[in-house]
């Protein structure tokens, strides 16, 4: 299905609860989810027979300090129909909490854990939210945030 078809189908079901983003170079279908209907839209995308986005490709977090937000970007793919979609969710930078997509797509489990670890975003509804890459004794500083300063990081003192 083309970009317009996908968006039309989504608008049919969930008009007004999401925002289409036009991001250059325009090769991707990007949809910004709003807090209320995020899970429902996700389940619809996965289950609807014309959309069938069953493959969770990638989840990333991008930090935008000037706009005071952290974007969580989900890339999805449909093997049945060979089309892609990108979902975005904006989290408040001061207290970033995002509804987890792991109950919908199991493949996002580790990706969300990584965003939690490196960016400090909490995922509500995640079955096992804990550190994945950084050591257990790492302090609560988040390396992928733009204000992570190498010099100010103080490692834990030895026991």
């Amino acid at each position: 299905m083309t970009k317009e078809d996908i968006l039309a189908r989504l608008k049919n079901q969930f008009a007004g609860t999401f925002e289409v983003q036009d991001i250059p170079p325009g090769t991707e279908t990007t949809v910004k989810l709003s807090p209320g209907k995020a899970r429902e839209i996700a389940e619809y995308l996965r289950d609807d027979s014309y959309l069938r986005f069953e493959v969770p490709l990638c989840a990333s977090g991008v930090d935008y300090p000037p706009e005071n937000k952290i974007e969580v970007v989900y890339h999805l793919f449909s093997l049945a129909h060979r089309h892609y979609i990108t979902l975005k969710y904006y989290a408040n930078r001061a207290n970033p909490v995002v509804p987890s997509m792991t109950p919908v797509w199991a493949g996002f489990n580790w990706h969300e854990r990584e965003i939690f670890d490196l960016l400090g975003v909490k995922f509500e509804g995640h079955p096992d939210l804990r550190r994945i890459l950084l050591p257990e004794d790492w302090l609560a500083v988040y390396p992928l945030r733009k204000d992570f300063a190498y010099e100010t990081y103080v490692p834990m003192p030895p026991k």
Binding site: E28, A106, W110, L144
Partner: protein, 374 residues
Amino acid sequence: METAVLDRLHTEEFLVNMGPQHPATHGVLRLILKMDGEQVISVTPDIGFLHRNFEKICENRTYPQIMPYTDRLDYVAAMTNNWAYARTVEALMKVEVPKRAEYLRVIFGELQRIASHLVFWGCMGGDTGAVSPFLYGLRERERILDLFEMTCGARLTVNYYRIGGVSKDLPAGFHEKAKAFVKYFKPKLKEYAELLSGNVIFQKRMKGIGNLSQNAALALAVSGPVLRGSGIRWDLRKDEPYSVYPELQFEVPVGERGDAWDRYLVRFKEMEQSLQIVEQALDQIPPGDLLAKIPKVLRPPKGEVYVRTECPRGELGFYLVSDGSTKPYRIKCRSSCFVHVSALPEMLDHKGHLIADAVVTLGSIDIVLGEVDR
């Protein structure tokens, strides 16, 4: 009477740590196995021992400067990492790579695929106890690495591709050496098929181990030989073709049951297909430029793009967010091995496998910790 005895015998599950240092974990990976006697009940992978935060480093480097860092992601298959990154930036900048450069990219990408699968083949033998195939595989890989060294000067971390093309042309004598390699390697593949694939003990160790169903494979987003081993015929080179793959003839091997044996066989057959691709590309390569006309200082336009490339271990995806400056705003590396390690519990939990099977399953998904941890 037996049940009376078994009721009184108190058995406990215990945790066994296959620590970061272990001959069978292919790198610094920690597996926490919950065991009931001999059987593995569940496995919990613990990663992060090789984490270098590649993504943060890239935020402070210009686009061309990032290329050598991509070598070190999946260090066993550096060429294809370079390619994946170059393709991503080229998609954002809408750059058209010249024909000759595309052919060179394909030749080296496929040679790298063969080299990477040879390491897999050798390690698979080593994991099951036959140590000699490891040396044979590495011996053949030496010939490929010699070809790399002839061209770009490096064997492992090659840094050969550039945004817009490749860095160096084929040296004199490359065609002859590469053709000689192809001629030498074809009968060797038959010999190795008899040596390891045809060995009954090896087959008994691999068949029925670590099954991954099709639904689970899609839900967990595995890719590459792991996905094809589970019976789903999806290869980016055929289904979303890039570069000059549409002009080359090759097949995509697919497994049936999704066990370790199928994954092994898919990779083995892929070696044969890659050899075929290299042969055709060597014949078809046209003369021409090596680099597209791009400015010296790269400033891709503002935007976001997600591009995936078929690497030997699966698909390597780069999500690139550019703010118009010389350095990327955010680059996310979605590596196949990260996802495959997360699929390990699905393959091993509650299936009555023994530790030996856990080792074989881990070997069959062919991970490189550089890609898992980045």
